[in-house]
Amino acid sequence: MLRLALRKDLSRCVSVMLMFFREEWEVEGLQTVGFLLIVCSSLKLLHFLGLIDFSAEDSIEDDFELSTVCHRPEGLEKLQEQTKFTKKELQVLYRGFKNECPSGVVNEDTFKLIYSQFFPQGDSSTYAHFLFEAFDTNKNGSVSFEDFVIGLSIILRGTINDRLNWAFNLYDLNKDGCITKEEMLDIMKSIYDMMGKYTYPCMQDDAPREHVENFFQKMDRNHDGVVTIDEFIESCHKDENIMQSMQLFDNVI
């Protein structure tokens, strides 16, 4: 009973206090709010004018990205030694290279962009990615002119075995010395992607897989599920079509 009375008193007291404060605060509260507002806005204004500085706010306006590093290739003579191109050919190649990439290196996006302009109907980005991996021999994420021209030299001026080696390197995505079915399937899909949607006959979904099966039937001599470099070269030598098509690259430049 006593407790109940106490509680009632307490509640009455609290309510009276609240009422009192509410009335007071209606005016006083707004005055306080107004005062605070003025203080804050004047601080902001001073900060804006640069007179005071809040250390908590780091302005990120001067966050310029470092411009891309400019890369110069080694001298013409050195490149001539490393590759099998003549001086004039190197000049022509470099002019084209520099035109498209003034900074001297190609990164993967530019690479993909350039390559996609040759295949307007399909999506060549995956294949361009694989190519980029193949050209970027030192794995630093960009292809310099030396990488570019060395790669081209192997393809265009190398022996048949060199070319086949390079192609094997392209297919071997994880560079472990053998091509698995999954790797080949990725490559095949990327090639088929370049065709795009509008083809005749209509592109079936399992076309890449069938093609891969065909390829493995031809190349995989010991039927162990992977194609090694020797199997690859041997099978290619035996295939007349491939041999003939390898000779296409003799007079590209």
């Binding site: 080949m184 003939q244 690259f249």
Partner: protein
């Protein structure tokens, strides 16, 4: 085609090494670079200023004058340079287009001069890059409008014989055409002024009779004012009816703003005539008199500035809307705050939030009547914040409106912003067409190129037969060298087709074949001869039976494979002979050759469908008809579909 990255074509072709080991079909022969001269510098002399560039740079865009053989017309033998008698300053931009792939429009250049140079060098203006395109379009639009204005002015002076109605309309629209029109113009203006002044003076208290308070003039001299009003309304009515009669399109005239103003101006009078003595609606009748003030808007026909003002307000609708919206927001916020701030004070006028609206508006627009003032400290603080922010909120959109007005005023006529959107759409459509044109170029030249190459093998007997075509043969030769990049690119795409054993077709055909073949699944790799032939035979022959497609449809599936290779699989040839003038490659001699070959091989305008089966026999090149006919002669080519199945 990737004209801008033509220098990377050797790389793209080298990258095709990835396809070779996986391809099952043999690759097509690469186009040989017959006169494979090393890249040489050519000198372009434009009115004395010499520009030098590599030949390959110009070859990037074979559709233009500099990229094609057209420039040979300008070749000067003595000085071994190409001379163009054109503006060298504009030529700078044009040459940079070849170098960088982007065409820029220099702002200081006159638009017509620039257009002429572009037309001369065969470059379409749509290629102008995005950074300069807006400027170009704006200048072009201004120029067109100025030309149209000049045209209209010059047009008005002629036209001897028009109907009476047309003369009247022209007189109304343009008062300076004849004296009558001018007289009419001034008379109506005078009467509008009279009418407005009458309305105003009507309410002035004039003269006071001793017994009553001041009565307005309108009630004192009722008759006089009524007569004046009647006269004005009669004039306005006559004018309106005459305009209605003379308007070329009455419906459109009746919907126009000016005619609505006219109607609203004269209607109150007639309504007043009709219901003079009805006491109930006299209140409404008084309200109607307010509308008489709209007569002042009739002045806008007489004043160009007023029309421009109205147009400005219409075109700045978004800024005005923003102004209104931000003002409303601020008013509501501040009114609420002021109400609660002043609630405590004893005799405050801020009785409710809407009552505070008035205070807020008066304060924000810095009027400050002083009929409502805050008394508490909080109210004063917020009131001052309110007046400061009011200045800002109002000051922000106003300069925009002002600049708009000055711009429109100076130009006097401006197309709608909506028209610009249509132009943008049209531009994008044109660029899309030219881009698809380039990808279709491969499909086109597949036919042309292949047939051409096939014809090349039959060169000797063929050329000798047509002796007078030596010049065209040379021309063809020249064409081939200038589009060597194109042919190499097409060879690359052809290799890809061979690798995947599918062909590029364009959208329409793809949908056609998709619909037709339906659920037919083509056996992908395993060549069972009979089944493959059957399916392709039926599929394609059905297509062949269709009437010849409209000229614009890019054809088809003429898949001619040069028979130089040993075909390991079936391939079907469809040739639609006869009306085939639709191939619109840029240089016509290719067309010419193809048509001739077509006419040679097809006696009638029948559609020949042949199916060649792989027979590893060496190709026979003796007769000109060999590209098309298989080793087995076709059965009989009657009109209609000829289907040859050789086994």
């Amino acid at each position: 085609m990737a004209a801008g990255v033509a220098a990377w074509l050797p790389f793209a072709r080298a990258a095709a090494i990835g396809w070779m080991p996986v391809a099952n079909l043999p690759m097509p022969v690469a186009p040989t670079d017959k006169n494979k001269c090393q890249d040489e510098l050519i000198v372009l002399n434009v009115s004395g200023r010499r520009f030098q560039t590599w030949r390959n740079t110009l070859d990037r865009y074979p559709d233009t004058l500099l990229g094609s053989s057209e420039k040979e017309f300008f070749f000067n033998e003595e000085t071994r340079e190409y001379f163009f008698d054109r503006d060298p300053d504009v030529f700078r931009s044009i040459l940079n287009f070849y170098r960088t792939g982007k065409l820029h429009y220099p702002r200081y250049e006159c638009i017509t001069a620039y257009d002429e140079e572009l037309a001369f060098f065969g470059i379409i203006p749509e290629i102008i890059s995005d950074c300069c395109y807006e400027e170009y379009k704006d200048r072009k639009r201004e120029n067109a409008e100025r030309l149209m204005d000049d045209l209209e002015d010059s047009k008005d002076s002629k036209l001897p014989n028009m109907t009476f109605r047309e003369t009247m309309w022209r007189a109304f629209e343009n008062p300076h055409t004849s004296t009558m029109a001018l007289v009419f113009y001034y008379v109506t203006g005078f009467f509008i002024a009279i009418s407005v002044i009458t309305n105003v003076v009507e309410t002035v208290p004039c003269g006071s009779t001793p017994n009553q308070r001041d009565i307005p003039c309108g009630e004192r001299y009722t008759v006089a004012f009524f007569c004046m009003d009647t006269a004005c309304v009669m004039i306005f009515t006559v004018e309106y009816l005459m305009r209605l009669f003379a308007a070329p399109s009455r419906y459109r005239f009746m919907r126009s703003v000016m005619s609505i103003i006219d109607v609203v101006a004269i209607l109150p009078y007639y309504i007043g005539l009709v219901m003079t003595n009805n006491e109930d609606v006299s209140g409404a009748f008084v309200t109607l008199r307010v509308f008489r003030v709209f007569r002042i808007f009739k002045f806008s026909r007489h004043s160009q500035g007023l029309r421009i003002l109205g147009y400005t307000l219409k075109s700045c609708a978004s800024e005005l809307g923003f102004l209104l919206f931000s003002l409303t927001m601020a008013i509501i916020i501040f009114a609420t705050v002021m109400f609660y701030a002043e609630k405590g004070s004893a005799s405050s006028k801020f009785t409710s939030i809407p009552a505070s609206f008035w205070y807020t508006i008066v304060t924000m627009t810095t009027l400050g009547y002083g009929d409502m003032v805050p008394k508490t400290i909080a109210g004063k603080i917020f009131g001052s914040i309110c007046s400061l922010s009011g200045v800002l909120v109002i000051a922000l959109p106003v300069p925009v409106i002002v600049s708009n007005f000055s711009r429109i005023y100076h130009q006097n006529q401006r197309a709608d912003k909506r028209k610009a959107q249509k132009v943008q759409k049209a531009r994008l459509a044109r660029m899309r067409i030219s881009k698809t044109g380039s990808s279709n170029a491969f499909l086109h030249s597949k036919r042309n190129g292949m047939l051409n190459q096939a014809l090349e093998l039959t060169q000797l007997p063929y050329r000798m037969k047509i002796s007078d075509q030596s010049s065209t043969g040379e021309k063809r030769h020249l064409n081939k060298t200038t589009s060597i990049i194109e042919s190499q690119h097409h060879h690359l795409l052809h290799c890809l087709e061979k690798t995947t054993n599918h062909e590029f077709v364009d959208e329409q055909l793809f949908e056609q074949s998709y619909l037709e073949s339906g659920l037919q699944t083509f056996p992908s790799r395993s060549p069972s001869l009979s089944s493959r032939e059957g399916i392709t035979g039926t599929c394609c022959s059905r297509r062949a039976k269709k009437s010849s497609p409209p000229p614009n449809a890019t054809h088809t599936h003429t898949l001619t494979h040069p028979h130089k290779h040993n075909l390991q699989e079936l391939s079907a040839i469809h040739i639609q002979c006869g009306e085939q003038q639709t191939l619109n490659t840029s240089r016509s001699s290719l067309n010419m050759m193809q048509d001739e070959s077509a006419s040679l091989n097809c006696k009638s305008s029948s559609q020949v469908t042949t199916a060649i089966i792989s027979i590893p026999t060496p190709p026979t090149n003796n007769s000109p008809c060999s590209p098309e006919t298989p080793t087995n002669p076709p059965s009989n080519s009657s009109a209609g579909v000829v289907k040859v199945s050789a086994l």
